[in-house]
Amino acid sequence: MASEDDNAESIAKGEAAGVQEHRSEDGRELSLTGNWTTRSIAAIDGWMRELASTAPERIVLDFASIANIDTAGAFVIRRTVEELRQAGKSVEFRNISHSEEVLLDAVADAASQSMPEKPSSGFGLLTPFAVIGRSVFAMAEQMKYAFGILGSAIAGSSGHGISLTAIVAQIHRIGVGAIPVVLLMNAIIGAIVAQQGAFQLRYFGAEIFVVDLVSVLVLRETGALITAIMIAGRSGSAITAEIGSMKMREEVDALKVIGLNPIGVLVFPRLVALMIALPLLTVAANAAGLAGAMVIANYYSDISYTAFITRMGGWIDVTTVFAGLVKTPFMALAIGVIASMEGMRVGGSAESLGARVTASVVKAIFVVIVLDGLFAIFFASIGF
C-alpha cells in the first residue's frame, strides 16, 4: 500500500536490511540501510554476527538510512553492539532517532542474556536399562490402576450420585448407535465364512456341512469377537476421549472437589452400559452372521433356508450359544476399564489425548482377542 507521507529519503521500501561501509582514518563507519524488520532481518543476521571479530577498534553505526525498524532489527543491532563492547571495541551511534533509541533500550536486556539451558533428558550408559525398568514399572502401575478403577467402580456403584438416566443414555450411545455397523459387519463375515466353507467342502461333496461350520464359528467365535472389536474401536475411543478431555479441562478435579467420585460418576455408567450392550449386540450380531451365511449358502450351494435352519437346529444347542455370549460381559468390562484408565491418564496437551485414545483402542482390541483365546482354551478343557 502506498504511504501517504512518503518522505524523499525513505529508501526502497521492501528492501532487505543491509549495510554500507565507509572507511575513515580512525575506524569504520557502517551505514545501516533498508528494512531492519522481522521479515527481512535474516539477510543481514549472519554478517552482523561476524562483525565482532572483524571490526576495528572503533566503529560508527549510522541510522540515517534505515527505512523501517522493529524489535527484531533493534535486537540484532543491540546484540552486535554488546558483542563489540565485550570484545573491547567502541561503538558509536549516529543519526539515531528517538524512537530507535527507545527500541534499542527495550531490547537491551534480551540482547545481553544468553539462551537458558534446556532441561536435558540426560542420555547415559544406563539409559536403556532405565527405559526398560521404567516401562516394566509403568506396566505394573497400569495394571494396578486398571484394577483400582474396576474396584472403585464397583464400590462407587453402591454410593450416591449414580443415575439410571446416565446408564440408559450410555446404553443408547454404545449399544443402539452401534447396531447398523455391527449387523452389517457380522453379516459380511458370516457370508465370507459360508462362501469359503462351501467351496472347500464341495470337494468332498459335503456342502451341507457348511451349515455346521458357519453356525459353530459364528455363534462361538466371530459374533462375539467382531462385535467386541467394533465396540472397542467405536466406544472405547469415545470413552477415552470424553474422560480425557474432561481431565484436561479439570472437570474431573471439579467432580472430586464437589465430593463426587469421578470413577463412580463417569466410569460406572459406561461400564454397566457396556456390559449390558455388548451381550445384546452379540445376540443381534449372531443373527446377522447366520443370516448372511444363509443367503450365501442358498446362492452358491442351493441349500434352502428351511434346510439350513433344520440342519442348524439339529446341531446347535444352547451350550454353543452361551459359549459365545458368556465371554461378552468380560470383554465389555475389559474395554470399559482400559478406556477409562487411558482417559484418566490424559495430561494437559492435545497430543497426549491423541496418544491415550490410540493406546486405549489398541490395548482394548488386544485384550479382547487374548480373552477370547483364553475362553477357547478354557471351554476346550472343560468340554463346554
Binding site: M1, R39, D45, S99
Partner: protein
C-alpha cells in the same frame, strides 16, 4: 516464500496523535446467530498507535465483534477495513500480509498444548519467515523477555504455566512478528490484581515503545483508567459511546453511568 509488501507495518506503528489515522474501521456490522442478532449496525474506528479499551456487559458480543474483525465469524452485513483495505477485497497474498501485521491474544490464551512456550512463539515465524534457527531462538527469547516471563519459561509446556504466565506467553506469541496491531480479549481476567496491573503496564509500555495499536476487550476498570487512550462501550448491539475516560465520566448513558460511577470506579478514581 513470495511476500508482498502490501502492509508496511512500521508505517502504522508510529502513533502520531495529531494524525489520527484509522487502522481498523468497522462500518455497519451486523452479526446474527440463527434468530439471535448479536450486533446490529455497529460502527467503530480504531486509530493507529492508540490503546483502545472495549467494554460492555457480559454476553453483549465483544468477543463476537473481535472474531468478526479477525474473519473467524460470518457477518450478515457491513464492511471491515484493516490498514485502509477492505478485508473482503483482498487476494491471498494481501490477506497474508495483513495477517502478519496483526497479533491476537485469545480469551483463554489458545497456546498450542503440544508445544513449549518457545516453540509456540516461533509458530508464526516458521509459518511466514525463513529465519536461521539461532536467530529465531534469540527473537523468541526477546519476546519472552519483553512480556516479562522468566527465561526458564521457554521450555515449559502450556499445562505447566500459571494463568498469568499463559497470558504473557500468548502475548509473546501475538508479538512474534512485531505486528502493528494486537487484539487482546480480556487479557487480565483471571489474574490477581497485581498481576493484572503488571500486565496493564506491560501493554502500555509496549504500545509506547513499539508504537503498537492495542485493541483490548476488558472488564478491568484499572486497565481502563491506567492504560487506555480511548474507550468504546458496546451495548444494545452497537457501540454506544466511544471516547476518552473523561468523556465516559460525563456520559449520559445509564449503563456507562453505573459502570464508571459505581462504587468500584469511584474508589479507583480517587
Amino acid at each position: 516464500m513470495a511476500m508482498t509488501e502490501t502492509v508496511d507495518k512500521t508505517e502504522w506503528q508510529v502513533g502520531d496523535a495529531e494524525e489520527r489515522r484509522v487502522i481498523l474501521s468497522a462500518e455497519d456490522i451486523t452479526v446474527r446467530f440463527g434468530t439471535q442478532t448479536v450486533l446490529d449496525g455497529l460502527d467503530l474506528d480504531v486509530y493507529a498507535g492508540e490503546v483502545l479499551g472495549f467494554i460492555g456487559p457480559s454476553g453483549s458480543g465483544k468477543s463476537v465483534l473481535l472474531r468478526t474483525v479477525l474473519g473467524l465469524n460470518r457477518k450478515q452485513g457491513g464492511t471491515i477495513s484493516l490498514f485502509g483495505q477492505n478485508i473482503e477485497e483482498l487476494d491471498e497474498d494481501e490477506r497474508t500480509a495483513i495477517d502478519m501485521a496483526m497479533g491476537v491474544l485469545f480469551q483463554h490464551g489458545a497456546l498450542f498444548s503440544s508445544l513449549n512456550v518457545l516453540e509456540n512463539i516461533q509458530v508464526p515465524m516458521r509459518e511466514y519467515l525463513d529465519l536461521p534457527k539461532k536467530l529465531m531462538n534469540e527473537l523468541a527469547m526477546l519476546k519472552i523477555e519483553m512480556v516479562g516471563l522468566p527465561p526458564e519459561a521457554a521450555w515449559k509446556f502450556p499445562d505447566e504455566l500459571s494463568g498469568g504466565m499463559v497470558k504473557r506467553a500468548a502475548l509473546a506469541r501475538a508479538l512474534s512478528l512485531d505486528p502493528a496491531i494486537v487484539f487482546l480479549d480480556e487479557p487480565t481476567s483471571g489474574l490477581d490484581p497485581i498481576g493484572a496491573a503488571d500486565f496493564d503496564e506491560l501493554v502500555r509500555q509496549l504500545s509506547d515503545t513499539l508504537g503498537l495499536t492495542v485493541y483490548m476487550v476488558t472488564h478491568d476498570l484499572d486497565s481502563l483508567f491506567s492504560v487506555c487512550d480511548r474507550i468504546a462501550v458496546l451495548g444494545d448491539k452497537k457501540v454506544r459511546v466511544a471516547g476518552t475516560i473523561e468523556d465516559m465520566l460525563v456520559c449520559e448513558d445509564p449503563w456507562v453511568q453505573s459502570y464508571f460511577n459505581g462504587k468500584r470506579a469511584r474508589q479507583i478514581k480517587r
